[in-house]
């Protein structure tokens, strides 16, 4: 039971009306969604709102980004008090990289789709993972291009069927497998229909310093929710095999530990928060990269839908820290620190004479 690992206050009782910085859940909401009723993306949006609210993140310190697609519309539906950037199709990672360089104090969350990330944006996805730019990167994965009316995407499973009966005869790209391969230090898979797990993973992702990658199966009720689809609510619900139950205790809450020794793996996040992974079926060590690889590979072979925290490495340095930038964000530096003095120009001119 996740409840066996809880904070002394907070998640145990009813959710308080205001969070630690005095804001209400409503302060984390966005504009009303314009997606289809029941779309998985909306379920994910709710958990994003909840995660930020419960963590008490200052909304104005968040930058929410996306590409193009139904999924990429969702940043408009959460955190109205955060600056938003709905970019071009597949190119959100480059925007996030630029934003991160300009202001490393911002907390970035990017929402993308499987078309946006696994096809047109694959190049940029690969490179943001490789660079380890600090951000939460959520792929709302429905196996189709929702916004362009239901064509297969590159994550559609072999043999899965479109509504029209057309069968997918190409193998899927496993985005989590790819992320682990590229050295991403936070890789998780979840399901829009498993809010409890999702919200814990989102909180852990926000605590992570570096790219936190979440592949969330998010059924498209309009184009890919029928029998024969492997991304439908029904299929995912039945097939979901969580690796563990996930508890999250933020740095600002006290941990009340109440579990049998050996039944829980604890991961300390760099901001002092804790993730507790309660074993379900046997051991899974999410810090073992090779094992993460094998597990993902094997699950795919067995057509298993594994969810949970697949891989984590809290020690991997992120890109921005490696640049040794000024403490003040570059975006806020003024002329006195950006324009070298006249002597510098004189010296350069002298060298060219």
């Amino acid at each position: 039971m996740v409840d066996s690992v809880t904070a002394t206050k907070g998640t145990a009782g009813p959710t308080p009306a205001t969070n630690r910085i005095g804001l209400t859940l409503a302060d984390y909401k966005g504009s009303p969604s314009t997606l289809c009723d029941g779309c998985g993306h909306d379920a994910i949006t709710s958990q994003i709102i909840k995660a930020f609210f419960e963590l008490g993140v200052e909304p104005h310190m968040v930058a929410k980004l996306s590409g193009i697609g139904c999924s990429s519309k969702t940043p408009a539906y959460f955190l109205n008090r955060a600056h938003g950037f709905n970019s071009t199709h597949g190119r959100m990672p480059s925007i996030a990289t630029g934003v991160g360089m300009a202001n490393s104090q911002l907390i970035q969350i990017g929402v993308s789709g499987d078309g946006d990330s696994a096809s047109i944006g694959m190049g940029q996805l690969v490179h943001i993972l490789r660079r380890n730019i600090p951000m939460v990167y959520v792929v709302e994965n429905n196996g189709v291009y929702g916004l362009t009316k239901g064509q297969f995407s590159a994550t559609a499973d072999l043999g899965s069927k479109l509504k029209s009966g057309v069968m997918n005869d190409l193998p899927p790209i496993d985005l989590c497998g790819l992320a682990v391969e590229l050295g991403c230090a936070f890789v998780a898979r979840s399901f829009a229909g498993d809010p409890k797990q999702l919200v814990s993973l989102l909180k852990a992702a926000i605590s992570h310093k570096g790219t936190a990658f979440l592949d969330v199966i998010s059924p498209c009720v309009t184009f890919n929710n029928h029998d024969g689809s492997t991304k439908s609510y029904k299929y995912a619900k039945e097939a979901e095999t969580p690796l563990h139950e996930i508890g999250y205790v933020p740095f600002f809450e006290q941990i009340a530990v109440d579990y049998e020794p050996g039944s829980v793996t604890e991961v300390k996040m760099h901001d002092g928060s804790h993730v507790f992974l309660k074993k379900l079926h046997g051991d899974y060590d999410p810090t073992d990269r090779l094992n993460a690889h094998t597990t993902i590979f094997k699950a795919n072979q067995d057509k298993q839908f594994l969810t949970g925290l697949l891989y984590i490495d809290e020690k991997k340095p992120d890109f921005t820290s490696q640049l040794n930038l000024t403490d003040q964000p570059l975006a806020l530096l003024k002329e006195d620190s950006l324009r070298p003095p006249k002597e510098a120009l004189d010296e350069i001119m002298q060298s060219l004479m």
Binding site: N80, L106, G123
Partner: protein
């Protein structure tokens, strides 16, 4: 045809042609001749004589022909000169063609074993046993090839009477601090010089003599100049993907940033440089950084510009500042990567689908590469839009003599950015409302701590509150405001440089690296043909009123540019259809830098018909 120089020498009746000729060195790329050519050029420069250097190189790392041309001009002409007066033919692959292309009476210095005297008997040959001399310079076979280059510096130095002391100074500068290398090279020069002194009889008219025309001047290429401009303009996020001829801009910038923008005490950098995975990502990163409030930039060439198209339109439509350098090379497609061109004028100006147009700066000298780099950041911030700086390979990668750059006097213009305190005072913020009536709205940066500060940036239709819209009137409102903003920009961008001759019936319009050829051509037209001209050098798009006035007040206006399709001429026709018939065209687009003689001939030919 006689060169101007030859003419003035014969007029003086001295038989000497002093400080007015061109030297071309034909070598193989990767052979290390670049240092020798720099030394040659610098030592003449140090003697106070105006020089310019052009490197004609292949898109290849080693083994293909390369030519380096040094123009020595007492009158200060620094454009390419078509005629070669002195050839140093070191490349057996091209030596025959090279020597054949000389004018009668020109000079050819070559390895004796090539027997080039058998190819042309009407040029003055100096045949040098380079192999033997190189063997004298070192016993290391590997070094011989490199030192051969310094031997020709010695031979040329002796023949032209270049001060040996200046050559030595230039070598010390070239190999700064590397004592052994300096000694080795100095020795090779001396071997060449001594041999020439003993074995060659001077039988040509070319000499250098000390002048005082380079005091206080610098030698620099346009990319380095732009890099310096960017650093002093406060560029803080720099993204790029390597491409000739643009790479050296960012590479030089990185060197300077490391030297001058890392805090000596804390070791912290006031900049981030990212080598992106491609140009699409490079411009995306630049836009992301510009949106978040940094002074961001990227630099590329034609193929990169094509890749950036979608994002640049996004930047225009959502109003995000960034600076994009396009160091033009020959297209279409891969084209000729190491040849120069001005064929990206329209592609850059109108880059992206839908109705888009961009502020485009057109530096015409290395000084302007420096200044306009600075201006570009201010304009990008002021107009909240991507700003192009269009340079080219000739300007960007060749060595130009220039006045020293002056330290920027104007403080940064960071444009209309609202802080939390300002929003609190105003009580309201709408991202895309034209509050001031100039088409430029106010923006906020992410991280601004005020409940009203946030807005949603989207490439889809948006209203004044940055909300999604498909309403026709919202779209019209937005597009017309963007147009208004563009009109405001007309009076902010660098004004054209106009040299009006009240007696002139014809005018010349040019931009960018065509400038020096046009200046020299105007002198040719005046001195040789008594044709007076006025000259307007365009320094930016969009156009301002000066251009219209200029065209109106001349009978015919020749638009000189380095592309096939007369892109600038057509753009002027588009904006001034009533004046279309006055606009003539001079187009140079073979990949070589434009030269004065070409411009003069093209204008005269059309004038005869007019």
């Amino acid at each position: 045809m006689k060169t101007l120089a030859a003419e003035s020498a014969s007029k003086q009746g001295t038989g000497r042609i002093v400080n007015d000729f061109s030297i071309q060195v034909g070598t193989v790329n990767g052979s290390g001749s670049q240092s020798s050519n720099n030394v040659l050029m610098r030592s003449i420069f140090q003697m106070g004589i105006p020089v310019s250097g052009k490197n004609l190189f292949p898109s290849n790392i080693a083994g293909l022909p390369t030519w380096f041309t040094i123009r020595v001009s007492k009158d200060g002409y620094i454009a390419r000169k078509r005629e070669i007066d002195i050839l140093v033919a070191m490349n057996p692959q091209t030596a025959h063609d090279d020597v054949k292309s000389l004018q009668p009476g020109a000079v050819c210095i070559s390895p004796a074993e090539m027997k080039l005297d058998l190819v042309r008997s009407d040029v003055k040959h100096y045949q040098v046993p380079f192999g033997d001399l190189a063997a004298r310079a070192t016993d290391q076979i590997k070094l011989r090839k490199l030192l051969t280059n310094m031997i020709y510096v010695g031979v040329v130095g002796q023949l032209l009477e270049i001060d040996q002391a200046e050559i030595e100074t230039a070598i010390r500068k070239q190999f700064e601090g590397k004592v052994k290398v300096i000694d080795l090279n100095l020795n090779a020069v001396k071997i060449g010089r001594d041999w020439a002194k003993e074995s060659l009889k001077k039988e040509d008219p070319y000499y250098v003599e000390k002048m005082d025309k380079t005091a206080g001047k610098i030698i620099i290429d346009g990319n380095a100049a732009a890099a310096i401009g960017c650093m002093f303009a406060g560029a803080s996020v720099v993204t790029w993907y390597p491409i000739t001829p643009s790479s050296s801009l960012c590479e030089t910038l990185i060197d300077y940033l490391k030297q001058y923008r890392i805090d000596k005490k804390t070791g912290k950098a006031s900049f981030a440089v990212i080598q992106a995975e491609d140009e699409l990502a490079a411009v995306g990163m630049a836009l992301g950084a510009g949106w978040a409030g940094a002074r961001s930039m990227t630099s590329t060439s034609g193929p990169g510009i094509s890749l950036m198209a979608e994002f640049v339109g996004y930047g225009y439509f959502t109003e995000i500042p960034t600076v994009i350098f396009d160091i033009q090379r020959v297209g279409p497609s891969t084209g000729m990567p190491t040849r120069t061109s001005q064929a990206d004028l329209l592609p850059a100006y109108f880059l992206s689908h839908g109705d888009t147009k961009h502020i485009t700066l057109l530096p015409g000298s290395v000084e302007e590469c420096y200044e306009m780099a600075g201006a570009a950041f201010d304009l990008a911030d002021r107009f909240q839009t991507p700003v192009f700086v269009l340079s080219d390979l000739d300007l960007g990668m060749n060595n130009w003599m220039a006045d020293q750059f002056t330290y920027p006097e104007k403080p940064f213009d960071r444009g209309k950015v609202l802080t939390a305190e300002q929003i609190e005072k105003i009580g309201k913020f709408e991202r895309y409302r034209d509050v001031d009536g100039d088409g430029i709205c106010y923006r906020t940066l992410p991280g601004t701590n005020h409940p009203l500060a946030a807005y949603f940036t989207r490439g889809s239709g948006h209203n004044e509150k940055a909300g999604y819209t498909e309403r026709p009137e919202d779209y019209l409102n937005l597009m017309d405001r963007l147009n208004k903003k563009f009109d405001t920009a007309r009076s902010y961008v660098p004004k054209p440089a106009v040299d009006r001759n009240p007696t002139a019936k014809i005018g010349i319009v040019a931009f960018g690296s065509s400038h020096f050829a046009v200046e020299e051509s105007r002198d040719q037209l005046r001195d040789e043909e008594k044709v007076a001209t006025s000259y307007l050098r365009l320094r930016a798009l969009p156009f301002s009123d000066e251009l219209r006035k200029f065209v109106e007040t001349h009978d015919r206006v020749y638009v000189v540019e380095q592309n096939r399709d007369a892109q600038l001429r057509d753009l002027i026709r588009l904006e001034m259809p009533d004046l279309a018939m006055k606009l003539m065209s001079v187009k140079h687009y073979n990949g070589l830098p434009i030269d004065a003689r070409f411009v003069t001939d093209a204008i005269l030919e059309q004038e005869r018909k007019a």
